[in-house]
Structure formats: structure tokens, C-alpha cells
Amino acid sequence: MKNKYIFGGVIIVVFLGLMMYLFTQSNIEYVDDFNKVMSTEKTVKATGSWVKEKNYNLDNQNKTFSFFMTDEQGNQMKVIYEGSIPNNFESATSVVVTGKYQNGYFHAKDILTKCPSKYEEKTANSSL
């Protein structure tokens, strides 16, 4: 009977070890400061919003989609995403891109767009 428990215990340890290892390998940090994003070699998830004044660009030749993002401090960077424009991009406020900053651009392999909350009513200037 003891053998079974040792056998089981070993398997569990191996499994957990494998999982922890793979977790660290696939771990991607959320970074909201673009200075940090631009200075690291690692793949990160950069969070910010897209700069609507600088229009987006669809490149059909290279099948890429590029736009500009800004973080809360006002740092901007150009993002190139290998893929097509996400469904709700035009109305998105915050954007999370996964990728690496290289050669002056952020090469994104994933984009997550978030729409403004439904409950965001405008607090308007009063005027008649």
C-alpha cells in the first residue's frame, strides 16, 4: 500500500513542478508604463488607450493593422498588430496589447479592446 502513495506523491510533485515551470515560461506581465514597455526585451501586456487623433492604418499588403497607444503619463508608442482590425476597435477606449517593443514599434500578437462602461453617463456642462 505504501508504494501506491509514494508513486502518487512523485507524480504530484512532478506535475506541480512542470506546471510551475511552464507558468513562469508563459507568464506575461501587465505593464501600464510605456517607458518600461519600451525598455524591456520581454513580451508584455501593455495597457493603455488608443490615440484616436492618430488614425489607424490597415495595410492589406502585409496584412497588418497599426495604430498609436498612450499610457496614463502620456507616453505614446506605435503598435503594429499582425492581423485584422478587431470587431469593436473604433469605439474602444482601453486597449491591452500583448507583444514586444522592437525597432521603434510595439509588435502585437494579441489585442484586447474594452468598451466604455454602459453606465458612463456624461456629466455635461450645463447650458440651455
Binding site: 500500500m1 502518487g8 507524480i11 506535475f15 512542470l18 506546471m19 511552464l22 507558468f23 515560461q25 508563459s26 507568464n27 506575461i28 506581465e29 501587465y30 513580451t43 501586456k45 495597457t47 484616436k52 487623433e53 492618430k54 488614425n55 489607424y56 492604418n57 490597415l58 492589406n60 496584412k63 497599426s66 495604430f67 498609436f68 506605435k78 485584422s84 482590425i85 470587431n87 469593436n88 476597435f89 473604433e90 469605439s91 474602444a92 482601453s94 491591452v96 500583448t98 484586447l112 474594452k114 468598451c115 462602461s117 454602459k118 453606465y119 453617463e121 456624461k122 456629466t123 455635461a124 456642462n125 450645463s126 447650458s127 440651455l128
Partner: protein, 810 residues
């Protein structure tokens, strides 16, 4: 008012029922009837509140904040059921749906438990604890769907388009009227003060607010009507095994609970599995990215309880079988824990989805609901976790009674135990990856895929082997002999797959081998059983289903190919061996969407697909609806990328055609032209998104012969047509035409006015109407859906068998 009162009453009844049932368990005789009456009273009230909510939705009662926020008049055009589905469009409503499902499940549970000895008071006391928590959640203190729009003393700004303009001449309206300066959008501020003015004037808020915000267009489809109800039904059913586990712990009696809880666990996991799959199919059919599972935290969080529940089904089987030896059976502690954890993970899933902790990690995550709700969710999950695990700890001694552990290594008991371990391993992987964002980290999807690949291999092998292994112990030689046919079949299948399917990766080959092995073992046994007793088929059908599912995943996820195709109208393009021709484009669905017809031909077969695109008013963006061609062995998936209406443009094409990035300059005929900056007024963005006319400017500085001037060239959009301006300077003998303006870059054409430096040609370019699509091949993706459906069917066959077993022989 009515709705809130009904729900508050229901909460009272739920608590009374819980107390009565608990007292009955403690021995007070006459409380049983009170418990039953209170429970049914609560259920009736919950059903009444739900009916009232539907009624209010269908009659457009926009004075309710929830109905204003999630429905509108135009939903009715899509059909009554679409309008009705806005019931669960937001948090309050989805809690109501969960509550409704739970209340109905409880009615069935009460009847079931009442026929099984003294089970009812214990099970219902725990069950009503759950319903009470849910009722608190939808009570006036938290996420009440019947809250009025003016309840917030700060008031709510409602767009004037949603209001009855005939009442705008009422004297007090002006003091509540506001305009947003940047968008010129008018609002009326509706607060308690406004409502009392309105009432004094003799009008109700219902008469004043005549339209609502409506649902996100991605929710306006068939799946919105069935995926949430089925998913929540699954969640509700997960409450039952939890209640059974606690009931057993209360009485400290573990023999009967296994066969009593078994059919519920099977049915619950069948329904939940179906609900999860429908979510995946929805994503595949509607969202256009061609996939069905993104390992999104919210998707994952519904998968975890399913994996835990299915794991427990395997060890419940062992416990049941080993009870024949006397005693409570093997793995009693495990089963109790898994029964508790299945529901705890349902609550955890709720917590992840609604508390806002996932924030940036998920497309599904909602806004932060506020501190109170957050704390209450923590209390909800904490209470049930402590109750469950606490009771198990309390009864640990009795549960640790000595059971003869004499099974051999090659026994079905051990194989089933290993199956449970592997499924729990899978649940752990998903749990770790899903919870990572809470700690500010995230995992790439390859974390899940890499870890699950070896697990899937093990599961499939185990499944095949375990059905050939006998209870207690088996002889190795006999085992090998029995697996021969299935083994050979699996090898043949895999060889064919390698030769004809192009499967070359070693892990995929092994996975195919083990999956095919499992498939053939199950089919073999199933055929034998079908000739006998149909009801015994459940497990085999379920495993056939999961094997087909894995084969479908291998095909569609691993071996899919995609390419972008530009289809000029009328011209056929070849892709993946098919000839595709874009033939027609026309508005559909009441002129709200644009459909593009594409003919797809191969040999003698001809098909037709119609992807669609449209601009949604809801969130001001372009929505792309894919079209799927389902063939026998694959799907061809068409996702529309873009559409160029084409047309004739006369260009005076100058060879002095330059692209200038902001901050750079160029030289022409002695002049230095620098692109300084863009000029865009703040309201431009709003105008752009509303489809109105707008313009954007590029500011250039020209320096020639010591003279400097600053000019601005414009890109004007009027009525959808684009126009570019140009600048002429006689002094400098220079003409600059703006040809294009986009992100960070402008294109200009430079020429001299006297024609001296020009190389121009007049060209007429005709661009054809072109549809760009991403076409992908998804081999055997149908097996993904069919596999799950067969698996769910298997669950229900098993359930009917175990239902019979559950009746106590008293």
C-alpha cells in the same frame, strides 16, 4: 416597487424555509410542512418576479434602470424572444436568471428528497441557504433589477432621443436640460426632484422615457437566447451535489448519499457541459475570429466546476461499487470534497466574472460593481467554502474508517481514481492560469495547450484501458488480449491519419493513437450493450463523445489554415482548392446590414456563402459577421475584412509624389517642404464616429529663397466622400496637392506652376468593387460540436440508469 416587494418577501420565505427545515432536522416534528410551504412560497414569488420582469421588458417600462439600460424598442423587430433575452443582458438580470433556475431546481429537488427517507430537511436546509444568498444579491440593497432609474440622488442623464418630446414644453423641463459641449448631445437629468415635478404635472416616468439603450449588437442573435439560460441551469444544478454532501455530513451517514446524489451530478454536468459548448459555438459562428475557445478567464471559470464535477463522477462510481464490501466505500472524503468544490467553483466563477478583479484580462469582465457587492460576493463564496470544508474536517474521524485496500494495480478502481486525478490536474491548470490576473500576471494561451496535451493523451489511454480492466484485479495477459482489436484499429487509424492527413508532430500522433484506442474500445463495448440493455450505455456514449471531440479539436485547432483573399467582383480566385467568386452585394435585414455573396466551387459542387458587415450605432464600430460553409470533413470559414466600393478616379499623377512622416521634410525645385504637424479639432473624433462631415488638416512649412510660409492642407469628408485640398503659390512657383492623410504620414504631390519641373501624366484609374476576406479551412470542426452533443447525451442516459438506482429500498 412591486418587483422589489416580491423579491424581499421571497427572501423572507427562503430564510423561514431554511430555519424550518433545519429545526426539523434537529427533531422538531411539525416544522417540515412549514418548511415545504415556505419553500414553495419562495419559488412562486421568484417565478412571479421573473414573469413581472419579462412583462416590464415586453411593455418597455423604461422607468426601471435595468430595462432602460439593456433593452430598447427596436429589439421587438427582431422578435419577441430577442426582446425577452434582454432579461439577462446585465448583472442584475443574470443573477435573477440564476435565482429563477435555482428556485425551479429546488422544487424538483424537494420532491425527489421527500421520497427518500429523512433526506429532505437536511438537503433543503442547505439548498435554501443558497437561495437566500441569491435573493440577497437581487434585493434592494445590491443588484436589484427593479431599481428605478431615478434612485440615485445624483440623477441620471438620459439622451433626449429616448424621451417623449411632446412633454418638453412642461415648465420645469429647462432646469433639467443639459448639453454636452463636445458632442452637442442633449440630456435631461432625471433625479428624484425631476420625478416629483413630473408627477405633479400629472405624468408618469413611463410616459416620459419612451426608448432605451438596447443590447450590444453582438448579443442580438439566437445564441443569446439559449446559452445563458442553459449555462445558469447547469450552475443551479451544481448546488444539489453540494447540498447532498452537507446533508450526508450532517447525519454522519455516507452510504445512501452516493446513489442519491449520483443522478444529479450526472444531469448537472451534462447541462453545464452543453451550456459551455454553446458559448463556444456562439463565438465560432458569430464573432469572426474563427475559433471557439480563447482560454478567456470567464470561459475558463465555467469549465473548472465542470472538470471537478466530472472528476467526482468517476470516484462516485468507485465508492458505490466498494460499498458492497460493507462500510461507506472508498474515496468517501474525496467525493464529499469534490461535491463541495464543484459548487464552490461555480461561486468562484461568479466572483471572477462580476467582481471586476479580472479587469484587463478578459473581454467578458464587467465594470467594478462597487465595494458592497464585492464584499458580499466574498462572503458568499467564503460561507459555502467554510461550511463545506469545515463539515468534512469535523467528520474526518468517521470518514477515515478502515477500508480494505486490496485492489490490485490493474483494477478498475485504480483506473477510475487515476482518471479523477488527471481531471483534477486539468482543473488545477485552468485554475492557476485563470486566477493569475488577480495577481497582476497573465499566461499566454500556450500554457493551457502545452499542459493539456499530455493530459489529454493520458486521459484517452486511461479511458480505453479502464473499460477493459475488471473490478478488483485483472490479469495482464488477459488485458493485452482484450485490447488487441482496439489497439490494432487505433494503429491503423493513426497510420491513415499520418499518410493522408499530414499529421507529423509526434505528440499529435500519440494523441491520435490514444484517442482512437479509446474510441474503438468504447464503440466495441457499446455495440455489445446495445443488443442488451440500452440504459447501461451511458458511460460508453459519453466517452465516444469526448473522443470525437478531441479528434475534432486536433483537426480544427492544430491543422487549420488561413489566407487573406481579395475578391474582385466577378473574378474568380482560387484558394484551398476551391474557386471563389464575389458576385453580389446588397443590403439586408431592413437595410441595417450589408451582405456580400460569394460563390464557392469545386469540381461539380457549388456553394454559396454570405458574410455581412455593418456599422453599429450601439458602439460606433464596424461589425463583421462571418459566413461558414459546413462540409463533410471540414468547415470553410469566411471572415469579411474590408470592402472597397471601387469606382473611377481621375488622377493627375505626378512623379513628384512624396510620402512625408510628421517631423520630416523634403526638397523640391529649391524649396524645402516640412511636415510640421496635424491639425484636428477636438470634436473631429466625435463627428467621425457619428458618420458626420469632418476634416483633418496637415500643417506644412515651406521655405524657398529665404521666404518661409506655413500652410495647411485639408482632408475633407463630406457625405462620405473624401476630398483633398491643395496649395498654390505664384511667388514660389509651387503647387502642393495633398493626396492622402493617414496615421502619422501624408502623401503629397509636388509640381511647379509653370510646368517646368513637372512629370505628370493624366491617368484614370478604375478600381473594381472588391471584397477582402480571410478564408480558413477548419478540418473536422463539426466533430467538436457533435462530440460534445454525444457526450451530453451519454450523461443523460447514465442519469436515467442511476435515477432508478437511487430509490431507497426501505
Amino acid at each position: 416597487m412591486v418587483g422589489s416587494i416580491i423579491l424581499t418577501l421571497a427572501l423572507a420565505f427562503s430564510i423561514i424555509s431554511m430555519v424550518m427545515y433545519f429545526l426539523n432536522y434537529r427533531g422538531y416534528k411539525n416544522t417540515l410542512n412549514y418548511g415545504r410551504i415556505a419553500y414553495h412560497g419562495m419559488a412562486v414569488l421568484v417565478i412571479a418576479a421573473s414573469v413581472y420582469l419579462w412583462y416590464a421588458i415586453l411593455t418597455h417600462q423604461y422607468q426601471y434602470q435595468y430595462i432602460y439600460s439593456y433593452s430598447n424598442n427596436s429589439l421587438r423587430n427582431l422578435g419577441v424572444f430577442h426582446l425577452a433575452s434582454s432579461f439577462w443582458g446585465g448583472q442584475e438580470g443574470s443573477f435573477m436568471l440564476w435565482l429563477l433556475m435555482t428556485a425551479v431546481v429546488g422544487i424538483i429537488l424537494q420532491s425527489y428528497a421527500s421520497k427518500r427517507g429523512d433526506l429532505e430537511p437536511r438537503v433543503m436546509a442547505v439548498f435554501t441557504l443558497a437561495t437566500s444568498f441569491l435573493l440577497v444579491m437581487v434585493s434592494p440593497w445590491f443588484k436589484n433589477p427593479f431599481e428605478y432609474i431615478w434612485t440615485d440622488p445624483h440623477g441620471v442623464f438620459v439622451k433626449i432621443e429616448h424621451l417623449n418630446s411632446q412633454l418638453f414644453n412642461l415648465p420645469f423641463i429647462q432646469q433639467f436640460f443639459f448639453t454636452d459641449q463636445s458632442s452637442n448631445q442633449g440630456f435631461i437629468k432625471i433625479d428624484p426632484d425631476f420625478v416629483s415635478h413630473l408627477r405633479q404635472a400629472g405624468y408618469s416616468l413611463n410616459q416620459f422615457i419612451i426608448d432605451g439603450k438596447g443590447l450590444n449588437p453582438q448579443l442580438l442573435n439566437f445564441w443569446m437566447q439559449i446559452h445563458p439560460p442553459i449555462l445558469f441551469a447547469g450552475f443551479s444544478m451544481a448546488t444539489v451535489p453540494f447540498a447532498f454532501a452537507i446533508a450526508a455530513l450532517m447525519k454522519n451517514d455516507y452510504r445512501d448519499w452516493v446513489k442519491q446524489a449520483f443522478p444529479w451530478m450526472l444531469a448537472g454536468m451534462g447541462v453545464l457541459g452543453l451550456g459551455i459548448m454553446l458559448g463556444g459555438y456562439w463565438a465560432y459562428e458569430m464573432l469572426g475570429w474563427g475559433g471557439y475557445w480563447a482560454w478567456d478567464p470567464v470561459e475558463n471559470s465555467s469549465l473548472i466546476p465542470w472538470l471537478v464535477g466530472v472528476a467526482s463522477i468517476h470516484t462516485l462510481l468507485v465508492q458505490k461499487k466498494t460499498q458492497a464490501k460493507g462500510g461507506i466505500g472508498k474515496y468517501a472524503k474525496t467525493n464529499l470534497m469534490l461535491g463541495v468544490l464543484t459548487y464552490v467553483f461555480v461561486l468562484y466563477s461568479t466572483f471572477l466574472t462580476r467582481s471586476g478583479v479580472l479587469g484587463d484580462a478578459s473581454v467578458h469582465s464587467f465594470v467594478d460593481p462597487g465595494m458592497f457587492v464585492y464584499l458580499f460576493l466574498v462572503l458568499f463564496i467564503g460561507t459555502f467554502t467554510l461550511l463545506g470544508l469545515g463539515m468534512i474536517a469535523y467528520r474526518w474521524k468517521t470518514l477515515s474508517e478502515n477500508i480494505k485496500d486490496d485492489e490490485g494495480l490493474l483494477s478498475r478502481e485504480l483506473a477510475l481514481f487515476t482518471a479523477m486525478i488527471v481531471l483534477i490536474a486539468s482543473a488545477t491548470i485552468v485554475l492557476v492560469g485563470t486566477s493569475a490576473p488577480i495577481f497582476g500576471k497573465s499566461v499566454d494561451t500556450f500554457f493551457y495547450n502545452e499542459m493539456h496535451l499530455p493530459l489529454a493523451i493520458i486521459i484517452m489511454f486511461l479511458n480505453g484501458i479502464s473499460l477493459l480492466i475488471k473490478w478488483q484485479k485483472s490479469d495482464l495477459n488477459e488485458l493485452i488480449r482484450k485490447s488487441t482489436y482496439a489497439g490494432i484499429g487505433a494503429i491503423l487509424f493513426t497510420v491513415l491519419l499520418v499518410i493522408f492527413g499530414g499529421v507529423s508532430e509526434i505528440m499529435m500522433i500519440i494523441l491520435s493513437l490514444t484517442t482512437a484506442f479509446s474510441l474503438f474500445v468504447n464503440i466495441d463495448i457499446a455495440i455489445k450493450i446495445v443488443r442488451g440493455n440500452f440504459k447501461m450505455l451511458g458511460a460508453y456514449v459519453a466517452h465516444i463523445g469526448i473522443a470525437l471531440f478531441i479528434l475534432g479539436v486536433i483537426g480544427s485547432a492544430v491543422y487549420s489554415e488561413e489566407m487573406t483573399v481579395d475578391l474582385e467582383k466577378g473574378k474568380s480566385v482560387s484558394a484551398f482548392g476551391y474557386d471563389m467568386t464575389f458576385t453580389d452585394s446588397y443590403p439586408v435585414e431592413n437595410n441595417t446590414k450589408f451582405a456580400f455573396e460569394v460563390d464557392v466551387k469545386k469540381g461539380s459542387s457549388q456553394y454559396n456563402v454570405t458574410p455581412k458587415m455593418y456599422r453599429s450605432d450601439f458602439n460606433n464600430s464596424i461589425v463583421r459577421e462571418p459566413a461558414i460553409l459546413t462540409l463533410l470533413t471540414k468547415d470553410i470559414y469566411f471572415s469579411p475584412l474590408g470592402y472597397d466600393p471601387g469606382g473611377e478616379t481621375q488622377n493627375q499623377h505626378s512623379h513628384n509624389h512624396i510620402k512625408l512622416e510628421k517631423g520630416t521634410s523634403t526638397e523640391f525645385d529649391g524649396a524645402q517642404i516640412s511636415f510640421i504637424r496635424f491639425n484636428m479639432a477636438p470634436e473631429t473624433m466625435q463627428l467621425m464616429s457619428e458618420g458626420k462631415d469632418f476634416q483633418m488638416g496637415a500643417v506644412l512649412e515651406i521655405e524657398k529663397d529665404g521666404n518661409k510660409t506655413e500652410i495647411e492642407l485639408l482632408r475633407k469628408q463630406t457625405d462620405g466622400k473624401v476630398e483633398f485640398t491643395s496649395h498654390e503659390s505664384e511667388d514660389m512657383n509651387l503647387k502642393i496637392d495633398l493626396e492622402n492623410l493617414s496615421a502619422g504620414v501624408i502623401e503629397i504631390a509636388l509640381s511647379t506652376l509653370d510646368g517646368s519641373e513637372n512629370n505628370t501624366e493624366n491617368t484614370t484609374t478604375i478600381s473594381n468593387e472588391t471584397l477582402s476576406v480571410t478564408a480558413s479551412i477548419k478540418p473536422f470542426v463539426s466533430l467538436v460540436w457533435v462530440g460534445v452533443l454525444i457526450m451530453v447525451f451519454g450523461f443523460f442516459i447514465s442519469m436515467t440508469r442511476r435515477l432508478k438506482d437511487s430509490k431507497i429500498v426501505s
